[in-house]
Subunit: 229 residues, 2 copies
DNA sequence: GCAAAAGTGTTAGGTGTACACCCATGA
DNA sequence: TCATGGGTGTACACCTAACACTTTTGC
């Protein structure tokens, strides 16, 4: 390939991933200790540099796979942060993505290998560089997204119960929701399939499992339908 | 500064600006002919490469100033596009911003110098590379933004009339709005200051000028208020 | 006086929200 | 039989959207 733009500056471009999961009725984020200088050992989001022949999505997928063992994830770009002094090592522009994963699929052996931990988003504490900013912006975006599109399902196993789903939404929006209204809204959209099977792990009566029907959902979206909470 | 990350790939990073203005009751976008190879002469959005010691915002400001002569503009990041083959010259990752400007402040001598043109967004035609994609994503975002926050004012002169404001919103959302409901909503927020002066250019009766009161608006936002259309 | 745009309130319908009781089951 | 969480319908308040006539003024 010819080098048309050879007199222009090049910069280091990194991708930082906010990997989110749901457990113990709370959203958790995967963080690790930085493996390299500078700031080695500081608490950090998971990232990687964008390679020459790799798209941004591919970088995200690579990072997510490396740290979770999961191949297909829901991801969305949050934004790009390009202040000159934001990384103390060298000038690095960072593209931030969040990824929603089903924690049942998480490869727990990676926790140790990468010195990584799942932290409740309400108890994150101080992260390195501007990573707290990334997280705050992500949560704002993710709340808006889950409030208008049913992407929350990506945080749950394939089969889930309505009480689980409600507790997920309550964790995301950090506020209690009315059970009847919530169930009505969710079922009214007609994108959930009720299964015969019940989850008996959290009550004697047991709660029916449901499954998300992506085809119906896509049809809804195509028709311009949106929901709220 | 030490070079901690010296073994990582660097990439060309560009900023592409969707510069939007309002005239003749329609949103217009500033486009130009590409000045350099490859694809020299193709219709293109306005952009520039991010320099080593320049933040993304600074790059946008530089590009907007260069092509419009305006220093302070409202801008917002749309997203970052990083497919490997998106630029045919070389691998370039592009950060897209839109900027809203008051066309009365536009320096018309620059139109000729840069071979630039203001084009109605409904008649843009084919742009180079993936710039049509950039524009489509921008318009979607801008519509959402103007529907929930009063950023539309940035497209108008400091003094404007309510019929002008309504026609701006109708242009943005490409649908007619009810005059009484529109005026009521806008005035009810109490962020517009009515002036004594009237604009007589479009009717015998004349329409009162208003001015946007940013302080009151910031107070509203701070209190968590949002409006819709 | 008339044409042309500016300005002004009210109502009906729909949407969102609050709310309380019965059911199924395992221990 | 009882304790525990799952499941179900309605009434009211509020907000959104539809709608038509009067005012001002330059020609």
């Amino acid at each position: 390939m010819e080098r048309f733009y050879q007199h222009e500056d090049k910069v280091l471009l990194s991708v930082d991933c906010i990997i989110l999961g749901f457990k113990e009725n709370a959203i958790h984020v995967l963080i690790a200790r930085r493996k390299f200088e500078p700031l080695k050992g500081e608490r950090s989001l998971l990232g990687g540099f964008v390679r020459k022949a790799e798209s941004l999505n591919e970088t995200v997928a690579r990072v997510v796979l490396e740290y979770t063992g999961i191949e297909q994830v829901y991801m969305e770009q949050v934004g790009t942060y390009g202040e000159v002094g934001r990384d103390i090592g060298e000038r690095v522009v960072s593209v931030v993505y969040y990824a929603l994963i089903d924690m049942e699929l998480y490869d727990k052996t990676l926790e140790e290998r990468h010195n990584a931990r799942w932290v409740n988003i309400r108890e994150v504490g101080t992260l390195t560089l501007d990573h707290n900013q990334f997280l705050a912006d992500t949560l704002r975006l993710m709340r808006r997204r889950t409030a208008t599109r049913p992407v929350g399902f990506n945080l749950l196993p394939e089969k889930f119960t309505l009480p689980q789903l409600q507790s997920l939404y309550e964790a995301i929006h950090q506020q209690p929701l009315d059970k009847r209204n919530f169930r009505y809204k969710m079922l009214e959209m007609d994108i959930l399939e009720k299964l015969e099977e019940k989850d008996k792990s959290s009550s004697r009566k047991g709660a029916y499992y449901y499954r998300f029907n992506k085809e119906k959902y896509d049809r809804l979206l195509h028709d311009g339908y949106f929901f709220s909470i």
